[in-house]
């Protein structure tokens, strides 16, 4: 029992709270200012989104005013009813009055309903726009960005964070409006009744400000921390669910559950403090209001004894003080959601502020068509500073040539292709396509002339047909099947239940890794590009099938510049040029015969291979 009772007071101090203490340090005043500025900026940006609906928003605002008036009109009419009619004879004036009252009530309900549903529409559209913006922006971010982020963490921003914004806009916005309105109205009436007592009522305002500052300084950080923890948890969950097979196979359920528990505990911790401290707000408001109640009663009582005011004024004033409480309380309650919404929005804007892939400047050209000449000249590149992945690579490929890239794992083969597709930018040297520097061509324009079969053949949830058609959206069913036949995928597809219309699940169960590669090849065939890139495109395909698709691939490579990372001697031998990479350097280049003559690494390996057979 005692344990259960004392539990809530045994939470560890949150790290965020420690940060706050730091922030109180005079040296960190700037940071504090910065924080306030961030807040304003965030609110401003949310407003920017809302501003799309200015028209409807002003309509809602008008409705809020109207309903505030109607809310005040109701009690006033009842007062009149009591004073004038209740003890009267009744009859038609009384009936008329009641009808009027009924009309006010109906109207009031109607207005509040309208303001609510309009606000919901505005809120949902705003959130929709934020989502779509965030999604669109992600597609403009450079590939290295994704190397650093967990997918689940990014997903959390799309759902959990935006959801916070959504619920605030849905319900809190109107409340905030009407609370402010009612507050202003009450203050005016109070001032008219007795400036002195009003002043006394406001004695608590500085306390209120101090209290709110104390609280928000903490909760602002705490909510952000909670959302961050939530994002981390999401990232962890996504990874462990996507890697479920490994976890099962290794029987590591307990280990991941253990790690999950750590993440979960962090959320509990930050969530606890965020909720507790922000929960102080309504209590504080209530407490201070009760205090001002007491002050009014005490001071008012003494004043009344001295004859300075009447008892009636005190009674009315207490009543108004109560009215003053209501909206402030409402505001305070909304504050909670508002804070978590700001924390959520900040995390969304954080991504929106990530720099896009070096923007294709206005001068960037569109490529109408492409011959397929590719040249690398003294290209160097590193993922991380200090570790050169590619060093001083130079070669030229004429249109229609097939270039085989070979070398041990980690030699930089895939990196070379990443540069060509402009996922990454070279640190020095230049890459040209048809004589144009690739950095002057719009990325999408460049890529639309290329087709890729990447190392990991990714399939979307959807039918097989749609997955192949991804290469060329306007392709007919016949073209899709034609491509599948060339890739030797047709025969297995028709044997599947549902054939081309079989829906592939997210995990791709029911279709093997090799079959996935066949589909990826069909997709590239369909795309019909000027430059074709095959990165280990047949690694999971058995050699008998591989020979079958060779013909298709050969035909595909004819007339286009092809870059092939492969091991098949046949393909390599037929290549116009072979690039031999080792540890990021281009060791040898030339045709099969040329390289054999050179008696270098290639020739050594080739001879060794022959002997091995």
């Amino acid at each position: 029992m005692w344990k259960a009772l004392s539990e809530p007071f045994r939470y560890r101090k949150s790290t965020a709270a420690v940060q706050v203490v730091d922030a109180q340090n005079p040296q960190n005043v700037n940071r504090k200012k910065q924080k306030a500025k961030d807040w304003q900026a965030t609110l401003k940006r949310i407003w920017h989104y809302l501003a799309h609906h200015k028209g409807r928003l002003s309509l809602v605002l008008f409705m809020v005013m109207l309903s505030s008036v109607l809310t005040l009109l109701g009690p006033y009419l009842i007062g009149r009813a009591i004073d004038q009619y209740l003890e009267g004879p009744g009859g038609s004036p009384w009936l008329l009055f009641l009808a009027g009252l009924a009309a006010v009530y109906v109207f009031s309900s109607l207005v509040s309903w309208l303001q609510n549903i309009w606000m919901i529409a505005i809120a949902q559209e705003t959130v929709y726009r934020m989502r779509v913006d965030l999604f669109g922006h992600l597609h403009k971010l450079p590939i290295p960005f994704f190397a650093k982020r967990q997918r689940g963490e990014l997903m959390s921003r799309m759902t959990n964070d935006i959801d916070n914004v959504s619920s605030t806009l849905n319900s809190s916005a109107i409340q905030v409006f009407s609370s402010v309105l009612i507050l202003v109205g009450t203050v005016v009436v109070m001032l008219l009744l007795s400036p002195l007592l009003t002043l006394l009522t406001f004695l608590v305002v500085p306390l209120m400000v101090i209290g709110m500052k104390w609280i928000t300084r903490r909760t602002g950080v705490l909510f952000k921390e909670r959302q961050r923890n939530m994002g981390e948890l999401n990232g962890f969950i996504e990874e462990t669910l996507s890697g479920q097979r490994i976890i099962k196979a290794f029987s590591q359920e307990e280990r991941v559950i253990g790690t999950f528990r750590e993440h979960n505990a962090r959320i509990k911790q930050s969530g606890f403090w965020a909720q507790t401290i922000s929960g102080f707000i309504p209590k504080l408001m209530n407490g201070l209001n009760n205090l001002s109640f007491a002050i009014i009663a005490g001071v008012g009582g003494i004043l009344a004894i001295r004859g300075a005011i009447t008892v009636g004024v005190i009674v009315v004033f207490v009543e108004y003080a109560r009215q003053f409480t209501r909206p402030i309380n409402d505001l305070a309650n909304q504050w909670n959601t508002l804070l978590s919404a700001i924390a959520g929005a900040e995390r969304v804007f954080e991504i929106l502020d990530e720099e896009e892939e070096a923007i294709d400047e206005g001068a960037a050209r569109e490529l109408e068509s492409l011959q397929g000449a590719v040249s690398f000249s003294h290209v160097s590149f590193s993922y991380n500073k200090g570790e050169e992945t590619l060093q001083d690579i130079s070669f030229e490929a004429s249109p229609g040539e097939t270039i085989a890239i070979i070398g041990p794992t980690g030699a930089g083969k895939t990196s070379l292709i990443q540069l060509l597709s402009r996922f990454y930018e070279a640190d020095s040297g230049s890459i040209t396509v048809d004589g144009h520097e690739i950095t002057t061509i719009r990325r999408e324009s460049l890529r639309s002339h290329m087709a890729f079969v990447l190392q990991d053949s990714f399939l979307f949830e959807g039918t097989i047909r749609d997955n192949i058609r991804y290469g060329k959206l306007e392709a007919t069913d016949e073209q899709v099947e034609e491509a599948a036949k060339l890739a030797n995928a047709h025969s297995f597809i028709v044997r599947l239940e549902g054939g081309y219309d079989k829906i592939l699940q997210g995990d791709g169960s029911g279709i093997s890794q090799g079959q996935k590669q066949l589909l990826a090849i069909a997709r590239a065939i369909l795309a019909d590009p000027a430059i074709l890139v095959l990165d280990e495109a047949t690694s999971s395909i058995d050699t008998v099938t591989e020979i079958k698709i060779q013909e298709g691939l050969q035909r595909l490579m004819e007339g286009r510049t092809s870059f092939v990372i492969a091991h098949r001697l046949n393909t390599i031998r037929r290549a116009d040029q072979i690039l031999v990479l080792q540890e990021g350097r281009l060791l040898e280049k030339g045709s099969h015969e040329q390289l054999l003559e050179r008696r270098g690494l290639y020739s050594n390996l080739y001879q060794g291979r022959m002997q091995l057979q």
């Binding site: 009530y105 759902t159 849905n170 996507s242 196979a249 290794f250 407490g287 794992t409 091991h567 001697l569």
Partner: protein, 580 residues
């Protein structure tokens, strides 16, 4: 729903405490008018400054007391809701981990993610709100009704009449809205799904320049989410205006009959005024109702979704319940006897009538065309799926009789597609086992032929791998994944085409190392060079085992095997394996 309430039960003391403290606050609020009337009647009316000061002192003390109660209740309410969220999340995650692989695949990953985060957050927030405000509303309503009945039974009864209407409307809306919110969460799943797919396939989308198409697809799903949210919220937003309207109708009725009663003389003006006041107070308390109704409906929908996952049968394999064999696998013999298997969602068998016998320490190569069932066979040994017919024996005992844990503990598995986790290289290798020393990690890395590469990295074993180890090449990641399997010192090692990116020397060194470990090894491969030294080669074709034996035997007996051999060593298709 019931399940969720069971979770709250653990924290009933704290929950009751939170509600109790809320009642304390409410009481203080309610006695304030009483004290003020004392000030007026006993103080001001009798010109007694002391009495005024005394009672204002009491007022101040009472408000401080209420404030303290409120602060403490914050602690309790937050504790209950956060602990609840923590518990449900942990239970659900544990449950998901307990799912059999087949059951796991019934749920979309994105949907499980939404349930574990967003849905549980909804439940948690609503609980917090509930402990602090929700009870306040019915308390005020009930209190006011009782007072009204006490003041004047007849007129009070009019007010009472509105209650059933209120009740039914709220129940109806909550029920209906819960269904709509259920749909909202489903749409959220879909949005999450598109997002996940896009993040996973970002490179592909980029190279095929399909940004706009994906954006359209996403906009479509978020559009649906917007619509379903809007309609759900619209429904709940009817609550407040409608209920206030009913209350107001009650007020008009009270006024109407009140006037008549006053005329007849069976009620006083004071009584009517009092009842009107109580009605107004009730209406005021109900003003927060829309928010509560929508929060509650949403939490209800979320609770259903969480319960659905919690109630799902884990799909623990048949024979569960029967005492499992104790002890662990020591020899590593594997026997398949007329094994047939099909995936739950597909109606044609992927493996048919497979029989073979592997002795401890043997090296088995599995060969076959793309889609012939090689990986499926491995999944059966791994017990990720269960065979439909036939028997699989491990160490002579039916695999169904083994505790799956024991099987897993003795198996090292390297999947076809590389799956690494966020963390350092050391974390990823260490992940394969428990309590391993750094030396053991290095040893495993050396066996997997990746040690030298790791040492060349600036941070060595402490190099962080990004999502899916993005800066390493495919072959390097593959070898880390092999090291992760080797550190388990497995009795049975399963390599699912996981040496495809290794060059011949590296592969040979690796296989030699594995040989020295003396474990039973299953190796899915495309390369005849790897099968030549195998003790047993299983040749699969469209789910059937069409040949088994060693290299020499198969060269003689199997045309398909000869064809595969030709494809690699004939004039047509030599591999320059050393160039990989």
């Amino acid at each position: 729903m019931k399940q969720i309430f069971l979770f709250i039960k653990t924290y009933r003391v704290a929950a009751i405490m939170a509600i109790f403290l809320m009642l304390v606050e409410l009481t203080v609020e309610l006695i304030q008018p009483l004290i003020i009337s004392k000030i007026i009647d006993d103080g001001i009316a009798r010109d007694s400054t002391e009495v005024v000061l005394l009672w204002s002192g009491v007022l101040i003390a009472a408000s401080l007391f209420a404030f303290a109660a409120g602060i403490v209740s914050s602690f309790y309410a937050a504790h209950v809701s956060q602990s609840l969220g923590y518990d449900i999340r942990e239970k659900l995650y544990g449950k998901v981990q307990a799912f059999s692989y087949a059951v796991f695949n019934r749920f979309a990953t994105s949907s499980l993610i939404t349930r574990l985060t967003n849905d549980i957050t909804q439940i948690q927030e609503t609980t917090f709100m509930g402990l602090r405000f929700m009870l306040r509303v019915p308390l005020v309503v009930i209190g006011s009704l009782i007072m009204a009945l006490v003041v004047h039974a007849g007129l009070g009864f009019l007010l009472l009449l509105t209650v059933p209407a209120l009740f039914f409307v709220i129940i109806w809306i909550v029920k209906k809205a819960a269904i709509l919110f259920h749909k909202v969460q489903q749409k959220l799943d879909a949005v999450n799904g598109v997002m996940l797919e896009n993040l996973s396939g970002m490179r592909l989308i980029r190279v095929f320049v399909r940004r706009k198409q994906e954006a359209t697809r996403f906009a479509h799903h978020s559009g649906e989410l917007m619509q379903s949210s809007t309609s759900a919220l619209r429904l709940t937003e009817i609550t407040q205006p409608f209920i206030v309207l009913i209350m107001n109708a009650g007020i008009i009725a009270v006024l109407w009959f009140g006037q008549i009663e006053i005329h007849v003389g069976s009620a006083t003006t004071g009584e009517v005024v009092a009842i009107v006041n109580y009605s107004l107070r009730t209406a005021g308390a109900l003003s927060a109702l829309s928010m509560l109704v929508s929060a509650f409906s949403r939490a209800r929908a979320s609770a259903q979704r969480v319960s659905e996952a919690l109630m799902t049968d884990s799909g623990v394999l048949e024979g569960e319940g029967a005492p499992k064999a104790s002890g662990s696998i020591e020899q590593g013999s594997v026997q398949f006897e007329k094994v047939t298997f099909q995936y739950p969602t597909i109606h044609t068998p992927v493996l048919e009538n497979i029989s073979f016998q592997v002795n401890p320490g043997e090296m088995v190569a599995i060969l076959g065309a793309t889609g012939s069932g090689k990986s499926s066979l491995m999944q059966l040994i791994l017990r990720l799926y269960e065979e439909d017919e036939g028997v699989i024996r491990i160490d002579g005992r039916n695999a169904r009789d083994w505790d799956t844990r024991h099987i897993h503990d003795s198996i090292g598995y390297v999947p076809q597609e590389v799956l690494l986790f966020t963390g350092t290289i050391r974390d990823n290798i260490e992940w394969g086992s428990v309590d391993v020393s750094f030396d053991q990690i290095v040893e495993a890395a050396k066996l997997a032929q990746i040690h030298d590469t790791i040492m060349q990295l600036p941070n060595g074993y402490d190099t962080m791998l990004g999502q899916r180890g993005i800066n390493l090449s495919g072959g390097q990641k593959q070898r880390i994944s092999i090291a992760r399997a080797l550190i388990r010192k497995p009795v049975i090692l399963l390599l699912d085409d996981s040496t495809s990116a290794l060059d011949v020397q590296t592969e040979a060194a690796l296989l030699q190392g594995i040989n020295s470990m003396a474990c039973t090894t299953f190796l899915i491969t495309q390369k005849i060079s790897s099968t030549m030294n195998a003790d047993l080669i299983l040749l699969l074709d469209e789910g059937r085992l069409i040949g088994q034996g060693n290299h020499a035997q198969l060269m003689e007996a199997s045309t398909l095997y000869r064809r595969i051999y030709e494809s690699q060593f004939g004039e047509e298709g030599s591999h320059v394996e050393s160039f990989k």
